[in-house]
Amino acid sequence: MDIMQHVPIIMIILPVFFAAFTVLFRSKSGLQKALNVGVFALLFILSLRLLSYVWDNGILVYEVGEWGKYGILLVADLLGAGMVVLSSLISLMAMIYATDYMDRKALDTTFFPLFNLMAAGLNGIFLTGDIFNMFVFFEILVLSSCGLIVLTGRGDHTKMADKLEAIFKYLVLNMVSITLMLVAIASLYATVGTLNMADIAVKVSYLAEAGTLPWHFHVIAMILIVVFGYKASMFPLHFWLADVHPSAPAPIHAMLSGMVIKVGVYGILRVHYLIFNETMFMLQPILILLSLITIAVGATSAIGQYDLKRMLAYSSVSQIGYVLLGVGMGTAYALTAAIVYLVNHAVAKSMLFLATGETLYHAGTKDIRKMGGFAKSSPFLGSIFLIGAMSIAGLPPTGGFFSKLVLFDAGLSSEYYIPVAIALVFAIFTLFYLFRTWLAIFWGEIKDTDNADGYTERKPTVAIKVALALLACVVIYMGVYPEHLLSLSGTIADQLLDPQPYITAVLERSVR
């Protein structure tokens, strides 16, 4: 077997293995850091190799245990591999950043294993071809997030009590949503007798053609929308996000807002577009409606926030609404737009959150009203923050511009005039609150706070600068030369709308 064939499983097993390794051999912090950054760099390189392999050679199916569709398959199609690249990129940067940012205590104890497992969870979700396995990896992701949120970093001004409360809400809601997911999976299995998503898809389309598709099948689709909508923080399932994400230390915040909420979108793209085509006619209007409300609610809430992290969290809600709008409109172009949007938001938001962590460390407070004048002392952070804000606001020459461009274009070409109009208006809201915030932090006078004297001494360290600068490069790259992303997303969208190659690749496996 070609070594490339193993890359999907390596993307998951390597961090798991390494997590165990780290728990077992707690060594000196410096070595630990270097090893972990090394592993994540390796994962990133592998993910790129995987994507290019899939691009060249088509869908890569990996049989764990070699049981064909009767076991669990990892399916690296362009969507999956692309998401893995994205998550590997962001985790690498967050990891580099974290080696400096996180508390000594966290680095010495559980940070590295938890972070490794979080990465494994993400990759596992993106690569699995089995719906129950997706549930398992959802749990990995949730629990690792919870464990990581508790940890603290140097710019982390969240009270422990608040963190715990946030985790409590997150966890309880998650457990309810996971319950719903299990109900859906069990019902799905009871209806078609399989858990392999490609297998389900082909059986469902057979039943639909034969006219024997039971009606409760659509209920299952709806339940899964609730599950994924919760993960993606779609209205009215978005409440938790503004509590939870800001409670996390910056690198984890970046992971959560950058990658983890994207899992919900991925879920809809993967599961609904593969399996629930028959329900799409009901789902699409619902998704569009809810995504528009999500956009509006997120943006409107963000404006009134003076807690920087919270403001950005609401912004994530709003932005995910744009992604879901694309998902809901459902044409090839709209899906392209959704994926482009997703990628750009992931990169820019995670960069913004990493920058925020460092900014809060400099500021000594979370309250925007108490900040000001940092441009002079931290021009680097100011530029990074600006690039991030521009991208989220959709201004060129950042990636965010093209995501808005293609989204609006897709909407207008499918004659969704009113949704686009609403999205457009809230894009200006976004511009407003992001720039207002940027100005409040970096321009104006230095405020008289606890840190008024000390703030100049706190300069970002090399690791933090490297992580931020690399992400900024990606943001600019996607704004200056978006063709790679656009054509990749376009191909992904085509594959989503025509799942036949996916199904064929999966089901043409021989059994032992």
Partner: protein, 138 residues
């Protein structure tokens, strides 16, 4: 608390429970049981010791680092899978061979047994780690 009576009976029971847990682990492939069940059984045995003799007393006798247990377990389980890759198979590709030994007769050696042992250690390690950490908490 715990009286002499409870302690004595506990001493008598714990080895039984541990043996039973090992039996569940090894028999799991053919009878009810397996790594998880065995591991939880073992955990129960140790919890019984903790309950009856007290965590602090047990800790003064043995300094178990349960987190190492689950790390080792996770390593064993993943290595079982990776082992298959070394033979150019897929991850977690199972295999078994029936060995005829002169004294012991036919013995079926399964690669999945190692996987199950990993599961056993992880379950034991993580649950006892939780118990111990929580029990030590003031």
């Amino acid at each position: 608390m715990t009286t002499l009576i409870a302690k004595t009976i506990t001493k008598a029971c714990v080895p039984i429970i541990i043996l039973f847990s090992i039996s569940l682990l090894l028999a799991g492939h053919n009878y009810p049981g397996g790594g998880f069940i065995g591991g939880v059984m073992f955990t129960s045995a140790i919890s019984l010791l903790y309950i009856v003799f007290g965590l602090r007393y047990m800790d003064s006798l043995y300094r178990y680092q349960w987190e190492k247990w689950f790390a080792v377990g996770l390593l064993i389980s993943t290595l079982t899978g990776i082992g298959a890759m070394a033979f150019r198979y897929s991850f977690l590709r199972s295999t078994y061979l029936t060995v005829s030994l002169p004294l012991l007769g036919d013995i079926k050696l399964l690669s999945t047994t190692f996987f199950d042992i990993g599961v056993y250690l992880v379950v034991t390690g993580s649950l006892l780690f939780v118990f111990k950490t929580m029990g030590e908490d003031e």
